[in-house]
Symmetry: C2
Subunit: 397 residues, 2 copies
């Protein structure tokens, strides 16, 4: 059955327009006011914007928000994060994911790429919520033996799903997986046609140790194992040189850039200028709530754009480009023909309040959205043509 | 006439407490539920937090929000900001200030230190709004001749005011004022007992040019003119060495640190570790909306705390300290015995919604407030014991 929604009078390309959504896609833009539809949304005073895709997070870690901050990485992990996680049950993880999904929907994220444990619970929740999700079970050398069982779960889920939620494989990092474990994880993912995610070059220590152990940087080491390909989402990528970025671009790898996490953990600064020049696909991500401490992609855009400028390179990452990282590039990484408001594209979008004090005056809508706004001005979130969040208008001024 | 307000059941120091405000001060904390008061505020589900003082902004520049972004400082100033400002009338400036004050009150700021032109209009608005404001007229070598007229205005205002709004003197910078102009501005301010603000060492170019011209860094040059003292608010202070910071601490100067502006304009990174070690008073500020692009002090706290960490120094500016910069240190700079929630202190405070999704779970209230929250969780803003902003609760879930 065809499902249609008409958005009435949303601000787009400098004027108010009526937008018809049909079966999860933008069918026509600029239709008459009285166009028939199953559902109508009054977008008076609102602009339509592409929705966010958060390409690297650990949703159950919402339970650890504010649990440990302002300390060195090793102490943070050894004394706080890992002992907490060791006590978490699969049910706790689902609770954390539920909180994370509520937060993501409220702040305009329609798709997230997750990496944790017992991930089938998270995938079920995401499907129920109507979100898009790629949910990767995490593997280390010590638990790689369990990947065959997981492969059965993944095969089952991915063959039944409508494609909006997928299970994937997440070997944690090169320093927690040996070469055999990395090859096994990638091999199983490729046998099943599933996606792969991994943390790469988050800290300088990781690069230094890899150079010592293998004579290669992490990216070259992973490439020597046949690991890199267009099915790989590489999180962080802080300590990469131009040769590595060019190689990643050639292999079709996607980067999940996590500016708040990299800043908060003191990991270092992403090589903006070189990464953009290499042509590698760059997406934006929040990382988990323990190192951010929220999942707010609007705030993340501002952090990325401002961090890129701090030492004087004020032109390399303008507002429009960071918005593309958070939206269109994310959609591409999810395999969705979307991330922009245009006919034929996936109907993943936000309606945002243009009358909010942070959106006035409106010399430049995108600059206001990236640099001035708050995710609290999001009124409606639409994923695959369906409203997944709607803020009630206040009844008094 | 005594005015009393009872805040019922606000979260403070790990438990719900009743707080009695009398004549602009916290009279008693922990009073019984049925304590008599002229006004009652139900703080069920809310925490009480100190309010913000934004110690460097240019409120009329709210009109320029999003007008020019992502470009080098000189082009930004020469082609966009200055031509726009040249067309602004005093009435335009008051309109911009009105927008700024609305934004500041909604985002929890009770006091701001402004620097612009025709500032008496801004001071009148602030007084009417019940905000605290120090409003400095800006001087350059080319308009220093008008400072005597301004001195009359300032003398008149400051002698009549209740002390919540004060006019002050703002020589723009060392590169736009010659030595005579700087001395004249400081001299008049000191004759009248008024406050002084100036931009110091915002860019490396300023420091290099000062060294070439005078053989001294900007701070030492200003000290050689007798400029520095406890009445000086120094904005930016990006390019300072430890000797200069020690000298500023000795002279009692206050720093207005503006992380978003320094990042967005590519000015550089504030020397966090050295500034903290010197003991100089550090406060937090947004700068104007053209270089931020908002006046959101909650967001500014996160930017400061994360920028301090990016290159690995994750312990130097913890959440509690940056909250003090934005609250207690700001209050001190305003000459207010406040910025903390304690008996006898000025009743400048916020009630924030602890049930908001970004405040859950609550392992650490201050970490949640600094790193995870949004200023949209502010329900009530109290300045000098009076409610200046109150968000209506939504009537439906």
């Amino acid at each position: 059955m065809i499902q249609t929604t008409l958005i009435n009078g949303a601000w787009l390309d400098g004027r108010r327009q009526n937008i018809l959504i049909e079966n999860g896609r933008f069918k026509s833009i600029g239709v008459p006011d009285d166009t028939g539809a199953d559902k109508r949304i009054d977008a008076e005073g609102m602009a339509i914007m592409p929705a966010f895709y958060n390409t690297h997070t650990h949703s159950p870690m919402n339970l650890l928000r504010g649990y440990a901050d302002d300390m060195p990485l090793k102490r943070w992990l050894n004394e706080y994060i890992w002992p907490f996680e060791a006590k978490m049950t699969p049910e706790d993880m689902v609770s954390g994911s539920r909180m994370a999904m509520d937060e993501m929907m409220r702040t305009g994220t329609v798709g997230f790429y997750d990496m944790y444990f017992h991930v089938d619970g998270t995938a079920r929740l995401a499907a129920k919520a109507g979100m898009r999700a790629i949910v990767a079970e995490t593997f280390f050398s010590h638990n790689i033996g369990s990947i065959d069982d997981y492969a059965d779960t993944m095969r089952g889920w991915n063959s039944q799903t409508d494609g909006k939620t997928l299970l994937a494989v997440g070997p944690h990092a090169i320093y927690t997986n040996d070469a055999e474990s990395l090859k096994k994880a990638a091999g199983i993912a490729r046998d099943l046609g599933s996606l792969i995610t991994i943390h790469i070059s988050e800290t300088k220590e990781e690069v230094d140790n890899c150079l010592k152990a293998t004579g290669m940087t992490p990216v070259n080491y992973l490439d020597s194992l046949g690991f890199l390909g267009p099915d790989v989402m590489a999180a962080h990528c802080v300590w990469l040189n131009r040769q590595e970025l060019d190689l990643m671009a050639e292999r079709g790898v996607t980067i999940a850039h996590c500016p708040c996490s990299n800043m908060k953990l003191g990991s270092g600064r992403f090589p903006y200028r070189e990464a953009i020049a290499s042509g590698v696909r760059i997406t934006l991500a929040t990382d988990g709530c323990a190192s951010n401490n929220n999942l707010d992609m609007r705030e993340e855009m501002k952090f990325a754009a401002l961090l890129s400028k701090v030492d004087g390179d004020v032109e390399c990452l303008p507002a429009g480009m960071v918005l593309e990282w958070a939206t269109r590039n994310g959609a591409e990484a999810f395999g969705i023909d979307g991330g922009v408001i245009a006919e034929g594209k996936a109907a993943d979008c936000l309606l945002i309040d243009m009358n909010d004090f942070r959106m006035q005056p409106c010399h430049n809508l995108i600059a206001n959205w990236v640099y001035a706004a708050s995710s609290d001005i999001i009124n409606t979130v639409i994923c695959d043509g369906r409203v997944i969040f709607n803020r009630q208008r206040q009844c008094t001024e």
